[in-house]
Every structure is written in structure tokens, then in C-alpha cells.
């Protein structure tokens, strides 16, 4: 069959769908090779660090500009937009954290969490191959094998990034547990709640609390990671439809049309996912830190 041979020649030139996706799901780490071990503390995902720091600094810069120019008089549109954001975060923080002093730290934390995660999630809106293809060009012109020019542009689709943030939130929770309840008070709570203040129940209480902290932290990080990873993967699958172009024939036109329709639909839906996941991460951060302020 004609189309079959054409597909075969195409495959010989470009990557197979499997190779394409595998390439797009590989991080650029300091070795330049794909990480094979489940955990390897010698590796750093350079792309994740680069884009997350870049976007974080961008967010801080924009917010800092707004803060530096903020007046109590009539605000401009930019200032008003930032104020809406700040007001939203401050309202949520007020509802969940009842300590005025803690809010002075936790509300800014929630603000930067929201803005930063929103920006990192929004990297999904860039054309899937835009930055990786530019990187491939740079990598090849530097004399390296372009097949190893890995690049992932959505930092929140990296479990290291999301778990890093959720672990940071856990550290903040532990800090406030000790700060509000005192080391002794918190230790007592760990072995006396939730089942009751009896010596025989202490191990169960403690195990329960450890599991609770673990579950909160893991689900916090995994939720964001899972959503963004799945979103990215679906963009890749959609991109495969257009990548199956074999020339001016009916199946190619249909697939290309499907690519446009599905890509548009998923991108529109993803606007919701991007904002919602950022908001959920922020809210859960506030909820967990709020819980650290309350005794069981």
C-alpha cells in the first residue's frame, strides 16, 4: 500500500510516535543522559530549575514593580490587577489562618505559590515543540547530538518541582506546629491525637500523625504533578496527529484537522486546569498551615 510505504519512509527520517513522546518526556539533567534510576541525588534537572527560577523571578519582578509603585491613591490598571490578586489571597488566608502574625508570612507565601505555579503551569500553552526545537538547534550547533537535546518546559510536570514545593510547605507546617504549640505541646499532640491521650494508644496516634503528614505532602505534590503531566502528555498525543502528515491526502488532512480541533479544545480546557491547579495548591498550602495552628 502506498500510504504504508510512505509512512515507513517517514519513520526512517523522523522519530516514531513512541520515540517522539519519550524524547519529550525526558528531562535535561546535568549528565545529558536520561535518568534511569528511580532516585539519584547526583542529578539535577537543568530545564526544570531553569524555567522554574526564570518564571519565579519574572513573577517576583512583576509583583515587585507593582509593590514599589503602589500608592494609596487611585490605582492604575496594573496596580489594581495586582491588588485584586493580593486581596484574593489575603481573604483566603484570613479565612484559614487565624493568627495575624503568621498571616504576615503565610499570606505572601500563598501569593507567590499561586503566581509562580500559575506561570509554570501556563508554560503548557506554548507550542509544544517551540522551545525544545530551538534548544535542539542550539545543541546541534554546539556540536552535540541533537537526539540528546532533551528539554521539558513545564516545571510543574516534573515531580521534583511539585514535591519540592509540597515538602517546603511541610517544613513550614512543622515550623508552625513547633512555634504555636511549643516543642513539648506538639510532641504531646503527636502521641495523644487523634485517638486519645492514653499511653497504650500513643504508638497508634504517632503512626497516624506520621501517615497524615506523609499523605498530605505526597498528595499535595502529586496532585499538581499528575494534572500537569497528563495535560502535557495529551498535548503530545494531539501533536502526533499533525505529525502523521504524509502528503496531500485525505487521512492527512483529517488528522491535521483533528489536531487543530483537539488542540484548541484541550488548550481551552487547560486554561481552567492551569488556574485551578494553581489555586488548589495555594488553598491546600493555606489549609495545611492553618491546621498546624490548631490543636486536634
Amino acid at each position: 500500500m502506498a500510504s504504508g510505504t510512505e509512512l515507513a519512509t517517514e519513520v526512517a527520517h523522523g522519530p516514531t510516535p513512541g520515540e517522539y513522546i519519550a524524547h519529550h518526556l525526558t528531562f535535561l539533567n546535568n549528565t545529558g543522559e536520561k535518568q534511569v534510576e528511580l532516585i539519584n541525588w547526583n542529578l539535577v534537572n537543568l530545564d526544570t530549575v531553569f524555567y522554574s527560577v526564570l518564571l519565579g523571578v519574572l513573577a517576583l519582578f512583576v509583583l515587585y514593580r507593582a509593590a514599589a509603585k503602589s500608592t494609596s491613591g487611585v490605582p492604575g490598571r496594573f496596580q489594581a490587577a495586582v491588588e485584586i490578586l493580593v486581596e484574593m489571597v489575603a481573604d483566603q488566608a484570613k479565612g484559614l489562618i487565624h493568627s495575624e502574625e503568621s498571616r504576615r508570612t503565610v499570606a505572601p507565601l500563598a501569593l507567590i505559590v499561586f503566581v509562580w505555579i500559575f506561570l509554570m503551569n501556563a508554560m503548557d500553552f506554548l507550542p509544544l515543540d517551540l522551545l525544545p526545537r530551538i534548544w535542539e538547534g542550539i545543541y546541534a550547533s554546539a556540536g552535540h547530538d541533537p537526539h540528546h537535546a532533551y528539554m521539558r518546559v513545564v516545571p510543574t510536570a516534573d515531580i521534583n518541582a511539585t514535591m519540592g514545593m509540597s515538602i517546603a510547605v511541610l517544613l513550614v507546617c512543622l515550623y508552625y506546629n513547633v512555634k504555636i504549640k511549643g516543642a513539648g505541646g506538639w510532641a504531646h499532640e503527636l502521641i495523644s491525637a487523634p485517638f486519645g491521650d492514653k499511653l497504650i494508644l500513643a504508638p497508634f496516634n504517632f503512626a497516624m500523625n506520621v501517615i497524615e503528614f506523609l499523605a498530605k505532602t505526597v498528595s499535595h505534590g502529586m496532585r499538581l504533578f499528575g494534572n500537569m503531566f497528563a495535560g502535557e502528555l495529551i498535548f503530545m498525543l494531539i501533536a502526533l496527529m499533525g505529525a502523521a502528515w504524509t502528503g496531500a491526502n485525505a487521512p492527512s488532512f483529517l488528522l491535521a484537522f483533528g489536531h487543530i480541533v483537539a488542540g484548541f479544545a484541550w488548550a481551552v480546557f487547560h486554561i481552567l486546569v492551569v488556574a485551578l491547579q494553581a489555586f488548589i495548591f495555594m488553598m491546600l498550602t493555606l489549609v495545611y498551615i492553618g491546621q498546624a495552628h490548631e490543636g486536634h
Binding site: N45, T48, L60, S70, F225
Partner: protein, 157 residues
């Protein structure tokens, strides 16, 4: 889903960002928001006060207007009363003057009539004597006949 040192870096980056936001972003914006809220609250309070002041001033002006109207009415009625009294007085004075003038005229007229009557009487006596002289064609001694003439005079009066 491979874990590596990116996680540690991410924790550090995250906490650094939080520190920056807490130190340089959040306080100025919240300060501006709080200040604006206070300004608006003050403005609203001032507006309420101004409204109350206005209401008070209106009430006061109505009161003043009413008092002015009352005193004007009082003045007018006083003036009217006084005018009426003046007219009344003038009328009484005029009547009095007219009556006095009438009385004077009457008295004068009576005096004049009396005078005329007296003069006429004198002349009649003289005429009577002259007539009698002519009738009698003789001299009548005035002294001799004085009594007679006086009698005649009396009779004529």
C-alpha cells in the same frame, strides 16, 4: 517520575521566593490597600458629616426665615395701627379746628351785627331828630329834649 536533587534545589528556591515576597512585595501592597481603605472610610465619614451639617443648616435657615417673616408681619401690623391712629388723630384735630373756627365766626358775626344795630340805632335817632326838626320847623333844644330823645332811642332798640 524520577526523583533527584532538583527536589532539594526546588525547596531552596521556593523558600527564597517566599522570603522575597514576604519582605519586598507583600508589605507595600497591603499597606497601600489598608491606607486606601482608611481614606475611603474617612471620606465616607466626612460625607456623612457634611450631609448632617447640610441638614442642620437647612433646618436653621428655615427657622430663621420663619422668624424673619414673623417679625416683618409684626412690624407691618404695628405700622398699620400707628398709621390708623395718626389718621384718627388728624381727623379729630381737624374737627376740633373746624368747630373752633365755626364758633369764632359765629361770635364775630354776632358782634358785628350788634355793632351794626348800634350804629343804625344812633343814626335813626339822629334821623328822627332831623325829621322832627323838619316837621316842627323849629329848633329843638337838644339838651332840653335829651330825655325825650333817649326815650325814643330806647324804644327803637
Amino acid at each position: 517520575m524520577n526523583l533527584n536533587a532538583t527536589l532539594i534545589i526546588q525547596i531552596v528556591v521556593f523558600l527564597t521566593f517566599v522570603w522575597f515576597t514576604k519582605s519586598f512585595v507583600w508589605p507595600p501592597i497591603v499597606k497601600a490597600l489598608d491606607e486606601r481603605a482608611k481614606k475611603i472610610a474617612d471620606g465616607l465619614a466626612a460625607a456623612d458629616k457634611a450631609k448632617a451639617d447640610l441638614a442642620n443648616a437647612e433646618k436653621k435657615s428655615i427657622e430663621e426665615l420663619r422668624a424673619a417673616r414673623e417679625s416683618a408681619a409684626e412690624l407691618r401690623s404695628g405700622a398699620e395701627k400707628q398709621a390708623a391712629k395718626l389718621v384718627e388723630d388728624a381727623r379729630a384735630e381737624a374737627n376740633r379746628i373746624i368747630a373752633a373756627a365755626r364758633e369764632a365766626a359765629t361770635t364775630e358775626a354776632a358782634a358785628a351785627a350788634q355793632k351794626a344795630k348800634d350804629a343804625l340805632r344812633d343814626q335813626v335817632a339822629t334821623l328822627a331828630v332831623a325829621g322832627a326838626e323838619r316837621i316842627l320847623r323849629r329848633e329843638i333844644n337838644a339838651q332840653v329834649h335829651a330825655d325825650l330823645l333817649t326815650n325814643l332811642k330806647q324804644e327803637l332798640s
